[in-house]
Subunit: 771 residues, 2 copies
Amino acid sequence: MSDIGAAEPWVIRETTLSADGFESGRQRWSESVFALANGHIGLRGNLDEGAPTGMPGTYLNSLYEERDLTYPEAGYAFPERTQTIVDAPNGKLIALTVDGERFDVRTGSLRRHERCLDLRAGTVRRDVEWVAPSGAAVRIRSIRLVSFTHPSVAAIRYEVEALDRPVRIRIDSDLVANEAQPDQSDDPRASAVLDSPLRPLSHSPEVLLHRTRRSGIEVASAVAHTGAPVSASSEPDRIRAGLTTTLRPGAPLRLDKFLAYAWAEPDPVTKALADRDEAAGLGFDVLLRRQREYLDDFWAGADVELDGDPEVQQGVRFSLFHVLQAGAQAGPHPIAAKGLTGNGYDGHVLWDTEVFVLPVLTYTHPACVGMALRWRHRTLDEARDRARELRLAGAAYPWRTIGGAECSGYWPAGTAALHVNADIAAAVLRYVAATGDEDFLRECGLEILAETARLWCRVAHADDDGVFHIAGVTGPDEYTALADDNVYTNLLARQNLLGAASHEGLLREAGVTADEIREWREVARGLFIPYAQKRAVHEQHAGFTSLREWDFDRTKDDDYPLMLHFPYLNLYRQQVVKQADLVLAMMLHPRAFTAGEKLRNFVYYEARTVRDSSLSAPVQAVLAAETGHLDLAHDYLAEAALLDLRPGGGESGGDGLHIAACAGVWIALVQGFGGFRDHDGRLSFAPRLPGHLPRLRFRLRHRGSRLRVTVTPRQATYEVTGDRVTFAHHGSPVTLADGESATLPIEPIATRPAPPSPRPPEPRKPMLSNT
Amino acid sequence: MSDIGAAEPWVIRETTLSADGFESGRQRWSESVFALANGHIGLRGNLDEGAPTGMPGTYLNSLYEERDLTYPEAGYAFPERTQTIVDAPNGKLIALTVDGERFDVRTGSLRRHERCLDLRAGTVRRDVEWVAPSGAAVRIRSIRLVSFTHPSVAAIRYEVEALDRPVRIRIDSDLVANEAQPDQSDDPRASAVLDSPLRPLSHSPEVLLHRTRRSGIEVASAVAHTGAPVSASSEPDRIRAGLTTTLRPGAPLRLDKFLAYAWAEPDPVTKALADRDEAAGLGFDVLLRRQREYLDDFWAGADVELDGDPEVQQGVRFSLFHVLQAGAQAGPHPIAAKGLTGNGYDGHVLWDTEVFVLPVLTYTHPACVGMALRWRHRTLDEARDRARELRLAGAAYPWRTIGGAECSGYWPAGTAALHVNADIAAAVLRYVAATGDEDFLRECGLEILAETARLWCRVAHADDDGVFHIAGVTGPDEYTALADDNVYTNLLARQNLLGAASHEGLLREAGVTADEIREWREVARGLFIPYAQKRAVHEQHAGFTSLREWDFDRTKDDDYPLMLHFPYLNLYRQQVVKQADLVLAMMLHPRAFTAGEKLRNFVYYEARTVRDSSLSAPVQAVLAAETGHLDLAHDYLAEAALLDLRPGGGESGGDGLHIAACAGVWIALVQGFGGFRDHDGRLSFAPRLPGHLPRLRFRLRHRGSRLRVTVTPRQATYEVTGDRVTFAHHGSPVTLADGESATLPIEPIATRPAPPSPRPPEPRKPMLSNT
């Protein structure tokens, strides 16, 4: 067995000594956990020697291949092609031969095998003691990093030491293109594309040049070694650098390997070689130091501390680290649902980036949010084309994509989820309010806001009484589709329309007419929000509460996730919710609901929400906290925090981590127990901790300020560095200038036991003391 | 150009002299028009010599191959395999060589080229005078028949005559398997299957034996020739019989060819040879005579005469003939949407068989209805399995299939259209009421009724007020999907539940509990029928009249059919109707609506129905007639009657005729102008003719009686042969015994001009005098 050891605050440590710890499924998961990335390039946590492996993975943001989509029964505007992330040449490979025997964790015996993901260093360190079948014992240590400061660079330090007696070793350090992939798909055409995606164009012992066969993206992969002399050779899909030597105990061999990638630019070979040379010239130690400095700065503005629950403490830092890895240097390219940790969802970006990932980064690392939204602006023409194709107006952003084209193959839960457009607009409004980035607003934001507003104007229609409706669209809950007046969608569309109209001055300068902006306001104000009088709750969509109740008594444990055991036909017709939808609306639009409504709605939907999506628990945690269900909030927080840190189960991240769910851990803590909201650009806090948690501390960046908030069960302390900040604490305004702090009492709330829910929260977190 | 000549009452005559008349698209269409079938086997109207061709076609009912379905994003219970009709060995081929030159309509010159589909003889006759490039002139005549009386047999009489001088001729008469097919699909896997579907098992000069590669159906194809000595040889995929001789003018050569097929039975070779021998032993003239006798009997009980419109007169007979060809000897196998005239819809049967085709056959050729419904009973276990897979109850019949398994690849307009189950139940109830076939009821009907009733009981749910709803299903209109309380579905579900309960005595004997039957009645009586008070019309589904109005002003002529130019996303959200849905409900459930409601509903939906389905016009004709729009009814009648008789356009039947629309012509006339209804097993008539049509006469079979109805503008005459019949005439009961007749006045109605409609009825029928 391999195991993630006791919850250390800054390290994820895995110790593996037995063979089943290297079994393929477990490897897939741990390769995701130990993936390193910077948003630009990403390396899965494969073993240095490349085998055993669950799935190799070297990803370059937006290096994708196209393949055809075919349908048993196609329809107008069903996407005919999709984009699929492909493996870039793999430079992680360093094979070791000891006295003629190849190092492999499955042969000989392991005295030690430990890997550490160090969240402050930004590295994965590996420490191995291996006794070869011949009896020769060696220690192998490696440090891997993907540089936050040099976006196209990754580096590996590889050390071998003879332990008992001199050994003859050979090191083969490879860069390999078109590696064999495990079977990904039932569709033989998909595998065909992924099997050998790169056509070799040229090669030398320093750099390979390839081009994707259909999408035509050129990629150069350069490699250099320092520290020990190697002899290198190349062929079209491989560079191999090797050395052979004799090691004596006490005199380890150290080899530093530098990788640099360049793609989708005019002269990738020159760029890759220059970046490689710069990195090799600086040396591994300098890269390591800069990595730590970068992370020190990040954690200073972003760290979240939770006393009393070391598992969640580790989980939130692990999650934040992976959110940073997904976004730091991504722009102007998408931040995919799996970041660069795996090929799940084909490497696509979906709506959850704007709704989960970007809010966290907006308050912890705002620069990359601007870049991510600039990417949305770069693909605006494709969104306009798609709107035209759909016979709508303005822009219709894709449900899933890498390059900007719609790649959704099931439209009722894809294209029909028009809320993605309002989600993007909301991210624009939030980013601009939180940063004051006027350049972005003028250059990109305004156009996104206006074009998405136009979409809603066309989609909404007035009934005979002049009330506006949005019919036949899909909200966040994927167990409902093509619904009328989904509250989430209508509230976000309203925000989109009014948010665009709020920039009337700039828009008028850009030629938008007053009449058009007036229409946006008229539609926004007339949008219907369905409410079920009889049950005294909001309806997720019009008519939801009149649907048949799901029969949870007859639903067995192994019927979950429901979508694998029930047809959509059945799910869509009933009151069963995959993931927070109305509850998400209450989180994002807190003022659209009274406190009483929030409580009743929360309890009602809690009884009908099965959490078959990893996006659900964090949002339920937030509203559980707001409505006084503090223990339940803690349970959901733990579920989110441990999702990818515990192997196995349907939600295990073998094809990549759930980056939005990672962001959700921060959301559960900061928006849940911290009670943080940012509606309409105004910050507010209503912090509340359950009695068994002594302290929560989190940090936010907001415009020119940093805000540190420390919450204990009875009071909260706000400390400001930088510009003056105004916010609300439990509804009362507070203004703090540079260096000022305020300690304020927490408004008590009646704490409530968890209301009925179809599934017990799982994993139900063990209560650990913080010792 | 080829053309269908002036509308002859009993013949479809095509004269083709120029090359473009043989152009591929036109050939595809005329091959459908001149297709011959008996429900068991079908031959497309390919030229004897096999080229030029639009698409070869020899179909054996339920000879299909399976192929995988893959989805870009699959879901639970999406069908993983489909069934596709495949070409059986083609025995239509007779090639002629004249003085060394191969007869081909595209070479030499044609002095004459005429084909006649004779609706009373049941044959296609061809008459050709061809001058070879060498100058040799020959006359070629052929008669083709697919026997109604010998279901596995087809026969061809082929005559050649030298016209001007002696010629040396060679005839090659072939039976060929795995012929090349034109490209059918964008999906390369589909073509691969269709290209070579049959694996040869054995061959002789008398019979070929093949097996479909995956579905494993064995088919034997036997051939014999009489009238002239031939020498025959065989290879795995071909039998060739040839003769060479010299013809002198005035001494034609005659060759009779007999084909017999046997498949899906234990010893198909023996069966095929026996059937072939029997047919050849009887000889072609006997087959011809029996064919005519069979048709004489059919027309005596089924003919529809319409004075004043020879085009429609021809069209209704053509249509009835093709309905007969689809169903006559089909059972117990499905009657496919295209009959056996082409491979459209992959050869699948859909709901329209029960709703359009079987009602017509119930009153004109009831024996084959019983067989078609026995086939539904034979596949009941698969429907039960499907219901279990869908996590429903009872039986869920497939939306489209050949062998009984669901083959729908787009579930919102497939599996979600649960009304197919009620459609089948309605066909059972109608057939039993009209024939009194108690054996069928006990052996098959009861079980179908009970299992479909169980489905509805599970699907319907009660709201807080105890009103029952059926949510999230798709009705007949495919521009709406996953709707709540579709009126058509709810009315038919009610009929299904009450119809099953009406056989309580027999069901209790079969072990069904009183409680269960009570529940059927309770659900049926509680089902909600949505009505829009504000607009004073019924809603096609709950909320339909609140949807956005379709912008017809901005819809261009070439935007039709809308599904090829607008996404479902857009269509589903708006008040636009592909095909009669609520209007169909009013036809099938006339007593569920008042006369005033029918008029208002008709006008309302008329303005929103685009007739992008061939199933729409006949139903609109019926309700147009009932609501006094008699001229409009005539227009829609003509649109239906001429649909497949006029080449070109998106609705042309190149891949097979629209058999349900053919049935619709009878429906438009008999249920429209004849005002015939059969709700709850009671016959009623409210005939009405527009002033410019002098006379309509139609015949119905009902239990032991034949009823002949003659309608003129002022009165109707009913004549009965056989058992006593009771029916209503404009609401008043009439009872007639054998040999009795009654002439009754027609109740006047205010005739109305056509209400606004988005598309002009087309083709708008020219008014022709009946001279």
